[in-house]
Amino acid sequence: MAEGMKIRATMQGDVADVKALMNHIMETGLRKDAKTGQLIPAHFINQVTATLNGKTVLEAQWGAAISKNPFLGFKVKGAKAGDKIAINAVDNHGEKISGEATVA
């Protein structure tokens, strides 16, 4: 999953505006397969951690009601251009996706 996540981080005054887009199916476990009538098992990102230069700034727990290919936006005060933003996400199957970006 090379294209697991895209992150963009830009400075707005003294606040870094971070936008992340993750590639994930986000299956709720409530949908039925149209052909077989069986429930499609839940498969969704449930934990997300974001760091600025290695320091945690945001820890999120998600349910299945986050949209497919999740979008996450947050802002960090006191960041500078050149700082490193990293985001790690894990789904309910234990699969991991992560991304990194430099604040511009």
Binding site: K19, R31, N46, V57, E59, A65, I66, K68, F74
Partner: protein
Amino acid sequence: MNQLRRTFLKGTSAAGTVAVAIAAGLLKPGQVLAAEWNKVAFNATTTADAMKGLNAAGAAESKDIQIKAPDIAENGAVVPVEVISKIPGTTSIMIFVDKNQNPLTADFELSNGAEPYVSTRIKMANTSHVRVAVKAGGKAYTASKEVKVTIGGCGG
């Protein structure tokens, strides 16, 4: 032959160290994520129960929480929601959809300079109130906004 033996020994001893570290609890698998996923709160079927699971029961209504979401969402599968809290010392932001099967949608914990702001996209099964709860200084606050959904985004 000798070289092979060296490499082999090196390899096994290195793997051994890792195994010992895991056994000693130094290296936990999935260590990055400190907190356990809050199953109780996420599986709750009412917003009130979910709030209890997050220790946010009895949250006071507040006008200092801004929820930006469309009045009418054409597609319930993708509803953009933006939350801004003006309550000083906001440490966490939670999003609920009252009428979803499991109302709790997300719980964000903020630290080290993160602004009291989050933006994401959520699924909504029906027209419902989108409720936000915020924790600040050990107290909980809440606000909500109704979003009308013309095509549901859960189930099918």
